[in-house]
């Protein structure tokens, strides 16, 4: 599953972000996201990884630099990208079904067709049977499955996930990680994944972009190189897995003081 098709679907060139108060959040960040890969943005808190994700999503304008999606300059959100949020961002007044179908509702699809599509993805993420529940009736893990189904339902090429599993407990997080890899084997998507967990990054990613902070810069890019069809315990038992984690930890440690 390592990029067969190496053409970059998302190109970030020389992106800088300066807040009105003068703080420089990102400085000259460039990176390519190859089609079909899962690329993780990893770094200490305050390295601007969420800001970078919002810039790629078109929710935030960079002070300089540009984003290209499929070789077209992008300045606003588009149908080619879909976001998964850290706090799930589910509408508390709407059922799972309406939440998952929301992207299609905004695009003006008829009720019947958007609900049929939403139901398919609800089943896909393992939430079948919860269509008519409200978010407060779901556990954290189930809420994020709904968030993921909503992002999948609009059928965007690029999935952008902002610390999606950080609000769920450790065991559920592992389960969601495995299920995400499972899902990506079926749905060929390009994923940009933000996390602060080194283990999560090494386990999930095709490549890991390490960001430094103050200001955020690309420090180095790491390619773990595990085959996606290896099962989870084999990856975690592989000596290389520990080596990569140690290696990344050594790189990041210096930025924590």
């Amino acid at each position: 599953m390592m990029s067969v098709d190496a053409s970059a679907i998302v190109k970030v060139s020389e992106v800088s972000l300066r807040y009105p108060n003068g703080t420089e959040a990102l400085n000259g960040v460039s990176l390519d996201v190859p089609k079909g890969e899962l690329v993780t943005l990893l770094g200490p808190s305050g390295c601007g990884k969420t800001s970078l994700l919002k810039i790629i999503a078109g929710l935030l304008q960079p002070s300089s630099g540009e984003i290209r999606i499929n070789d077209r300059i992008s300045r606003a959100p588009g149908p080619d990208r879909a976001l998964v949020f850290q706090d799930f961002a589910l509408m508390p007044w709407a059922t799972v079904l309406r939440n998952v179908a929301f992207g299609l509702e905004l695009r003006g699809l008829s009720r019947a067709s958007r609900q049929a599509e939403a139901k398919r993805y609800i089943a896909e993420v393992g939430l079948a049977g919860s269509e008519y529940k409200y978010p407060h009736e779901l556990s954290g893990g189930m809420r994020q499955r709904a968030g993921l189904a909503r992002a999948l339902a609009v059928n965007a090429e690029v999935l952008m996930m902002d610390e999606p599993f950080s609000a769920v407990d450790e065991q559920m997080r592992r389960k969601l990680q495995e299920d995400l890899l499972d899902l990506l084997r079926r749905e060929r998507k390009t994923v940009i994944f933000v996390t602060h967990s080194i283990e999560e990054a090494v386990y999930l990613s095709d490549r890991i972009v390490l960001l430094s902070r103050n200001p955020g810069r690309v420090m180095r890019v790491v390619k773990p190189g595990f085959r996606r069809d290896t099962n989870e315990s084999d990856i975690r038992r592989d000596p290389r897995y520990q080596d990569i984690i140690d290696d990344i930890w050594t790189s990041l440690k210096g930025y924590l003081n």
Binding site: F85, P92, W93, G103, R107, Y134
Partner: protein, 304 residues
């Protein structure tokens, strides 16, 4: 004694339903289809009946104490509740109450309606557009914090003593509540939900109608309901201070000629009327918005 009754009646219209809602949520397994059904179909129309026995007992104890103290001739201006009840019945039969309410209710209803429409509009505009917030927000905050009892007599200078003066007093007391609740409801919209809508290529209009307004609706309804209680305060203040008509006149006249049972009867009638009105409004609100468990409950408890 009237002060003692007021908080008790508030308690019935406000806190009890939430307590009931939370208790129901705690003892039933969340999410089972059965729970949803009970919540949606049975509870909303009957919540105020919950613990009815205890509420009645509470009233009985208060009234019994009142009767004992009244009969002990502790104070001339404190008649026993039984004579108040007799006075109330008498005034209801001879048409005195109906006559008073015919003069009190029109300015109250008109004032609250006007305040609701203008206040909702102002609150929504303030919440959505920064320039409108800068211009109007201080005005509503001033209106809400100003001591109205001191300002109401000034209305006479502008509008005389007619129905318009009463209406203005009602509007002055209820509109800030509507507007500020609306404003706060809109401002409290979860920014993540707005990002979510934008990232799914929703337009600004869709963002407002599908995210911001539904998210603010709980606070908006609460504001509308609270504005009615503000309106009651406004109309009685106006009748006591500027235009001696209606229920306010019944209170002040009977007080001035030492007809204390009649005075208390008028006070009790307006408190009962306000409580019933607010309870009915809450019933309508629940029917209209549906009960969606802890989320709605939490949202509605917030006040400005």
């Amino acid at each position: 004694m009237s002060l003692g009754v007021l908080p008790a009646s508030r308690g019935i219209s406000e806190e009890a339903p939430f307590a009931a809602e939370q208790e129901a949520a705690a003892i039933t397994p969340v999410g089972s289809p059965e729970t949803r059904k009970t919540f949606a179909s049975n509870n909303p129309s009957l919540w105020f009946m919950k613990d009815l026995g205890w509420k009645l007992l509470c009233f009985a104890i208060v009234f019994a104490c009142w009767e004992v103290v009244g009969r002990a001739h502790w104070n001339l201006a404190f008649p026993p509740i039984s004579s108040v009840a007799v006075a109330l019945a008498k005034m209801a039969i001879n048409g005195e109450l109906a006559h008073a309410y015919a003069s009190t209710l029109p300015p109250l209803a008109l004032g609250v309606s006007l305040a609701s429409i203008v206040g909702t509009f102002a609150g929504v505009v303030m919440g959505l557009f920064r320039p409108a917030e800068i211009i109007f927000y201080p005005f509503f905050v001033l209106l809400q914090t100003a001591p109205m009892a001191a300002l109401v007599p000034l209305i006479t200078v502008v509008l005389g003593v007619g129905i318009a003066a009463k209406m203005l007093a009602v509007v002055a007391l209820s509109m800030p509540i509507v507007a500020l609740n609306c404003y706060k409801g809109i401002r409290d919209t979860n920014p993540s939900l707005i990002d979510m809508c934008r990232s799914l290529t929703g337009s600004r209009m869709q963002e407002i109608t599908k995210i911001i307004l539904p998210s603010a609706s709980g606070m908006m309804f609460a504001g509308l309901r609270l504005s009615v209680s503000g309106g009651f305060v406004g109309v009685v203040l106006a009748e006591l201070l500027i235009t001696p008509t209606g229920i306010g006149d019944l209170i002040s006249y009977n007080s001035s000629v030492a007809h204390y049972p009649e005075m208390y009867a008028a006070i009790i009638s307006i408190i009962a009327f306000a409580t019933i009105t607010l309870t009915v409004l809450q019933m309508i609100e629940r029917q209209f918005t549906g009960v969606r468990g802890p989320y709605r409950g939490r949202q509605r408890k917030e006040r400005i």
